[in-house]
């Protein structure tokens, strides 16, 4: 039996106010194997750790239990403390008496009783712990960035600047992302393209950056430091090495009826196209769904007009397999679909548009050449109504429960720009709250109201009714004046909620990164590890993690890059020693464990064993500890119990069960 020490943390009053820590100490001393127990104000502090060290050395402890906060907080702290005192770090168990006890219970007696039971379970477990040694695994010094928007570009640039090769995988034909669709940016009103394009060019030209556009991640295997990724390079039908980007093919293409994705479907593009003028790479793709050559076999005009001979109808999808040490997800966002918001007449009237559509309309390269006009009749609007929170902060399940964060500011921007360029246009904004927490944000909003005379009405719009004369009747409420409002507008702009790019689910599954109910990727810790995914080696950049504006996105992109660089800078990583292993005397060699192993970590070998004097050659499972991630799927599949998991062994878990049910 081990010589166990139990350390009970007060966590100031976080634990001690609800749990009688002295009682836990007293009860611990009654547990078999426990030779030392003490409590302290803050076990995680220098002084607390020093107490642990002293006890380990003076009382010759061979295992310790710390009753404190979640192991997700300080397991490493205490493992390191134990290691410094000469104890194997895996001889430490944590009883979570804060998050799982003191913080959720009010009655001191009840909480203390539970804390004692949790302590007992941890003591029972640590009694069966064995010293474990982590192994080592190599780090592939290359990063993958999924998504080529501003987040992905910035991350890639920062990693590349640090000297590591980076691949960007972008689904669409060009990098640039949502930001390339924006006209101006708040709160400084810079032209979006003017600040984005240089970054795009820089990424394209960077010797350490390799861009795969019109490509998607198909498969991910491996683990931190050693991911293997299959990238599907979709057939572009244009040879990138030959194309000069002259654009003649697009001009001559007879199929020009496909809605332009870039312009949100407000106008059409040709079947062979580059999404926008500054696209990088400036090489078009053939949309095979729309192309006459692909549909009927006839046409082939683009091929005829291409002087470089770059058109290649035979091109096939290509799978590129590459190894990476770190992966950054920067898959960005899209606007929600407005199908469930019939009351705003989005599908009935061309003059009810989303803010992103307004961006395109106001952009000089947009469908209207930058003229603010109604899409129904081309007339200049005189009365514009903005509706905020369409699908954001939504209580029912039509929309999103969260605040999309960027709408208040871009609406102020839109309102201001319109009033600036078209002073005769009246702008009204219906809002729930105006949220402007950001540098120079509130000032910006106040300018819209005070200098530009934008009419802000606190209240929601119930209905937008298209009128026979083409006008839009907006029925709203003014909560401050407590009155109903009926307003005729020429144009209604909806600040639709943003949501993570729907493809992120697929990617999260491939990466085994966790995702929340809104499809935002979960960070390892909401405050302390905001750019890391709980999956080691996977980092989060931009809106895939939560709604953000451009400056926030760029700063997070940089942070994600630093985390990735920190990983790539290492030559070797210590692997988790809590891996599966098979007892060769019990193994049947039946292969069931290998069938469920997600990492292909189990192989079989013919081995001579000595089973209590019976010598025979048996087929036996062997676990590759570098590949095993310690999930334990194999342990339950194994009928004989040959397969067990270090750190979470059958007997350890049963001991916890027994201690809890005692």
């Amino acid at each position: 039996m081990l010589r166990i020490g139990v350390f009970v943390c007060h966590c100031g009053s976080n634990i001690a106010a609800t749990v009688d820590v002295k009682k836990v100490v007293e009860m611990a001393l009654h547990e078999p194997g426990v030779v030392h127990a003490e409590d302290y104000q803050y076990m995680c502090s220098e002084a607390g750790q020093e107490k642990i060290r002293a006890a380990i050395q003076e009382k010759h402890l061979s295992g310790i239990v710390v009753c404190s906060c979640s192991p997700r907080m300080h397991e490493n702290t205490f493992r390191n403390a134990a290691e410094r005192a000469g104890l194997n770090p895996y001889m430490v168990e944590i009883a979570n008496i804060r998050e799982h006890c003191s913080w959720i219970h009010k009655d001191m007696e009840e909480a203390t009783e539970k804390a004692v039971i949790l302590m007992r379970a941890a003591v029972a477990k640590v009694n069966l712990n064995t010293p474990l040694q982590p192994g080592e695994s190599r780090v592939t010094k290359r990063a993958l960035v999924i998504g080529g928007g501003i987040a992905g570009i910035q991350t890639a640039l920062d990693i590349a600047d640090a000297g590591y090769p980076v691949d960007i995988v972008e689904k669409t034909p060009s990098i640039g992302g949502r930001m390339s669709q924006l006209d101006k940016t708040f709160p400084t009103l810079d032209c979006s393209a003017c600040i984005l394009t240089p970054k795009m060019v820089e990424a394209n030209a960077h010797p350490n950056i390799n861009i795969y556009t019109y490509s998607e991640v198909e498969k991910v295997s491996g683990f931190v430091g050693d991911f293997t990724v299959d990238i599907r390079k979709k057939a572009r039908s244009v040879d990138m090495s030959k194309c000069t980007g002259c654009g003649v093919c697009q001009e001559k293409c007879p199929s020009k009826k496909t809605p332009s994705e870039f312009n949100r479907g407000l106008n059409n593009r040709s079947a062979i196209y580059t999404p926008f003028a500054q696209a990088i790479p400036n090489v078009p793709v053939i949309d095979r769904e729309a192309c006459i050559k692909f549909k009927t076999g006839k046409c082939g005009i683009c091929s005829k007009v291409c002087q470089a001979g770059a058109i290649d109808y035979e091109q096939k999808d290509e799978i590129i397999t590459e190894k990476y040490g770190a992966i950054v997800v920067a898959t960005g966002f899209d606007m929600i679909k407005l199908d469930d918001y019939d009351e705003y007449a989005y599908s009935q009237s061309k003059d009810v548009i989303t803010s992103l559509e307004l961006e395109r309309i106001m952009n000089a390269a947009g469908p209207t050449g930058g003229h603010l006009e109604r899409l129904s009749d081309g007339k200049a609007p005189k009365e514009i109504v903005f509706i905020q929170c369409v699908g954001s902060r939504c209580a029912d399940n039509r929309g999103k429960s969260y605040c999309s964060k960027i709408c208040c500011m871009y609406t102020a921007k839109h309102a201001m720009l319109i009033r600036d360029k078209y002073p005769d246009v009246n702008v009204t904004v219906f809002y729930i709250d105006v949220r402007t927490p950001g540098k120079n944000f509130d000032e910006f909003y106040r300018r819209a109201v005070e200098e530009y005379g934008v009419n802000y009405i606190k209240g929601q719009v119930g209905k937008v009714i298209p009128q026979p004369d083409g006008k839009l009747l907006v029925q709203g409420a003014d909560l401050l004046d407590n009155k109903q409002i009926l307003k005729e507008a020429d144009m209604v702009v909806l600040a639709a909620a943003i949501e993570p790019n729907p493809d992120v689910r697929k990617i999260a599954t491939m990466l085994t990164a966790s995702i929340d109910t809104n499809n935002f990727l979960t960070e390892a810790h909401a405050k302390l590890r905001p750019v890391e995914s709980p999956t080691a080696g996977v980092f989060l950049s931009g809106v895939c993690q939560g709604p953000k504006d451009i400056p926030e996105t760029v700063s997070q992109a940089g942070a994600a890059a630093v985390k990735a660089i920190g990983l790539l800078a290492k030559d070797k990583l210590l692997t988790n020693p809590c891996t599966a292993h098979s007892d060769e005397l019990l193994c049947n060699g039946c292969s069931q464990c290998a069938n469920v192993c997600p990492y292909g970590a189990i192989t079989y070998e013919e081995k001579e064993v000595n089973d209590h004097g019976i010598r025979e050659v048996r087929r036996i499972a062997v676990v590759n500890e570098a590949l095993c991630q310690g999930c334990g799927a194999c342990t339950v599949t194994c009928p004989s119990g040959a397969m067990d998991l270090k750190g979470f062994s059958n007997r350890q878990i049963l001991a916890e069960v027994d201690a809890i049910c005692r």
């Binding site: 005397l585 019990l586 060699g589 039946c590 292969s591 069931q592 004989s640 059958n650 049963l654």
Partner: protein, 324 residues
């Protein structure tokens, strides 16, 4: 039967096989035993009749370790077990020469005894050649006639079919014996109230003497060391001291063979206490069929077992409460 014996002799003689694994005539009319024959003359004792219910696949685990090939006689249902064992690398196909033998339904001496027949001196009609519809049983207490079908093992009434899944050659004809619904009894129990279910199994399992016959005869229970014999889970109990242990043993045993059990019915055939152990396996099979698509263990070598595979849209565990 002579055809089988002749063929076995040939294969022994030409050196194709080193031994023959079949059945040897017993000393009572109904108790042939599984046996190895290494010499041609020993085969005089060979028998294959209605009482040869034993599934010889399990013996092939040991036979695979022996030198040279073993000629093994497998009934159609036994071939599922053999193939499942192949899938689990527990038998060596190279070490087996499989003759698929025909089957006209196997007899259950316990069933005959339950009819009140005792003091059996002879049984006529159990041989395959007889094609008998009726068994004539001479006893110390008079002669009895029993329809062959009524004396068959439960499993034969719900036979999976008379096709051999794997074989080198086939000898003998089979006769369809299926006349019942495999899941009828499971369904009957499912329809009970929790109290009735509990009482039913409590009663049945209270008979269990933990002799391990069900486990040791089971081709899916092929572990070198059973969890119930090892100290890995602190679960090594030699006796059911508490009624909990009866349940623990049978639930876990059924769980461990779930997705691998071919429903060969040996567990119920050998239980000295007549516990319908196959119900546990059938319950799992029924659930697997209903929830994850029909699956027959041992029917092929490639398909992943239902517990080592999954579908993204599998039913949630809550379905159990919803269904009942």
């Amino acid at each position: 039967m002579q055809e089988i014996v002749n063929r076995a002799k040939e294969l022994l003689a030409d050196g194709t096989v080193k031994r023959v694994l079949g059945w040897k005539a017993g000393d009572l009319p109904y108790n042939p035993e599984p046996a190895y024959f290494e010499k041609e003359e020993d085969l005089e004792e060979f028998v294959y009749n209605g009482f040869c219910g034993a599934n010889l696949s399990k013996y092939m685990i040991e036979a695979s370790k022996m030198e040279g090939k073993t000629l093994v006689f497998l009934k159609p249902c036994d071939t599922y077990s053999f193939q499942q064992l192949m899938k689990e690398h527990r038998v060596d196909r190279e070490k087996a020469y499989i003759i698929g033998v025909g089957c006209k339904g196997k007899l259950d001496i316990e069933r005959i005894r339950r009819m009140g027949i005792k003091g059996i001196k002879s049984i006529a009609g159990a041989n395959l050649e007889d094609e008998a519809e009726t068994l004539t049983i001479v006893t110390l207490y008079g002669e009895k006639e029993v329809p062959y079908k009524d004396a068959m093992l439960e499993r034969c009434h719900v036979c999976k079919g008379k096709d051999h899944m794997i074989f080198d050659e086939i000898i003998g004809e089979s006769k369809e014996t299926k006349d019942g619904d495999r899941f009828a009894e499971v369904e009957r129990i499912e329809a009970m109230s929790p109290e009735e279910k509990f009482a039913f199994f409590q009663k049945e399992l209270s008979k269990c003497i933990r002799c391990n016959a069900c486990r040791n005869v089971c081709p899916a229970c092929s572990c070198r060391k059973c969890v119930f014999d090892s100290n890995k889970f602190d679960s090594a109990q030699k006796a059911n001291v508490d009624s909990f242990e009866e349940k623990m043993f049978h639930i876990i045993r059924a769980f461990h063979v779930a997705g691998r059990c071919t429903d060969c019915g040996e567990c119920s055939r050998v239980c000295p206490q007549g516990i319908p152990l196959h119900l546990f396996n059938r319950k799992f099979i029924k659930d697997i069929d209903e929830l994850y698509g029909e699956y027959q263990a041992g029917a092929d070598l490639e398909e992943r077992g239902p517990l080592t595979s999954y579908q993204l849209d599998d039913a949630e565990p809550g379905i159990v409460a919803e269904r009942s």
